[in-house]
């Protein structure tokens, strides 16, 4: 038992890139869950009170619904998501050969819909894309995050990391200034988390709806008075990829509930 653990630790050490100053050591990483109130945790933990589960249920219905001129449902190709989609979201953003760059789970769903279902595109942050994404990601609940392991992604992880470290906007702040250096402190009374993206799409009480990691990143950028990247922009995908690789090994929680 002990030597199994030793192997696991050795494997983690071997695959973890060297930390830059200010970065969080693997064993000190904490999900946003540990920063929220007991009430919010209880809401997430109980599927009957977690509002994100309504989107998961909607997503399940959409999974089986035939759409587009191909008249195909997701299930017609992928079968039962409970088995076929297990652990899939934990690997996203993933490298897409045809594009030569990483894409998010939402972009994968959009591509599938365009190419295989030949259906009208679902806009970013629309209820249906969030529902499908939540349903697929929910099949990874409890799975360790492995996104970024693909060696073809290393340049994009590095791009995401440099964006995370880059000061920007009129307030001239980088993600790292708050989320590596000042987590557990309070910004206007609200706790600052480590920005570990373990539960996306998340139900955010402030939004009163489910939202993607891109939405969260864009609102942080607006907060530092920077020009937010458009949904689907390569920079946002690189940031998402870096954040997921930074959370490597942490369990997925989708749908998480956050204030």
């Amino acid at each position: 038992m002990i030597w199994w653990r030793a192997i696991a630790v050795a494997a983690l050490v071997a695959t973890t890139p060297a930390l830059l100053a200010g970065e969080i050591p693997p064993d000190a990483r904490r999900s946003g869950y540990s920063f929220v109130s007991p009430d919010t945790r209880a809401m997430q933990d109980d599927d009957t009170s977690n509002p994100g589960m309504l989107f998961v249920l909607d997503g399940e219905a959409l999974w089986g619904k035939k759409v587009g001129s191909a008249d195909k449902a997701c299930a017609d190709c992928h079968g039962d998501a409970r088995s076929s989609m297990k652990g899939v979201a934990a690997r996203y953003p993933a490298f897409e050969k045809a594009l030569g760059r990483p894409i998010t789970l939402d972009q994968r769903i959009k591509l599938c819909r365009a190419n295989h279902q030949q259906a009208s595109p679902l806009p970013y942050e629309s209820r249906d894309i969030l529902a499908l994404s939540a349903f697929v990601a929910h099949q990874s609940r409890g799975f360790p995050i492995t996104a970024g392991d693909d060696p073809q992604l290393s340049a994009f992880v590095a791009q995401g990391r440099s964006l995370f470290m880059q000061r920007e906007g009129q307030l001239n702040l980088a993600c790292t200034n708050c989320h590596d250096d000042n987590f557990d402190k309070h910004l206007a009374g609200s706790p600052i988390t480590q920005a570990q993206p373990t539960g996306y799409p998340i139900y955010r009480l402030e939004w009163q709806t489910l939202g993607s990691l891109e939405r969260r990143l864009r609102s942080c950028m607006t907060g530092v008075r920077a020009q937010a990247y458009d949904y689907g922009a390569p920079e946002l995908v690189a940031l998402e990829l870096y954040l997921m690789s930074r959370a490597r090994g942490m369990p997925m929680e989708t749908p998480a509930v956050r204030p």
Partner: protein, 149 residues
């Protein structure tokens, strides 16, 4: 014909001037020791207005700082409590710390409140403008100077 060209040139110049007003023109200031001794507006700030500004979320002060503000619980703890700021700093020191705190520590998370250049990807609504106007800096400096233990 020549005359109308001149008119157009003058008109264009004035349009450009209006577009840039408040954008590219910051009041020049002189640093003496570790402060700015002269008011950016040439007049002392207004203490009451300064307090209102510090408490307004748009100035961003209390996102990071706390202080003697019993009426709000939405205060930050990323930066020192402002209580006693008037004991710790002179008016001149406070003014430069608001204008450009990065001068003292390039790694500081305190924004430079009176700077409008050298930033990355500034939002469209903010581009070319400092976070605070000269008058707002002076009001806040005047208020902070009154915070004595």
């Amino acid at each position: 014909m020549a005359r109308s060209k001149v008119y157009i040139a003058v008109l264009l110049a004035s349009v450009i001037h209006v577009a840039n007003a408040g954008a590219d023109e910051l009041v020049p200031y002189e640093i003496t020791g570790d402060g700015i001794t002269t008011s950016l507006t040439g007049a002392p700030g207004d203490v009451a207005r300064g307090r209102t500004l510090v408490l307004a979320r748009t100035t961003t002060c209390i996102l990071c700082h706390s202080g003697p503000f019993p009426e709000t619980r939405f205060q930050g703890d990323l930066a020192p409590d402002l209580t006693g700021a008037g004991n710790r700093w002179t008016v001149s020191q406070l003014r430069l710390r608001l204008v450009d705190a990065s001068r003292f520590n390039p790694d500081t998370i305190m924004p430079s409140y009176y700077r409008n250049k050298g930033f990355v990807r500034v939002g469209r609504n903010y581009a070319g403008n400092p976070i605070l106007s000269a008058a707002e800096i002076e009001d806040i400096v005047a208020y902070l100077a009154t915070l004595r233990d």
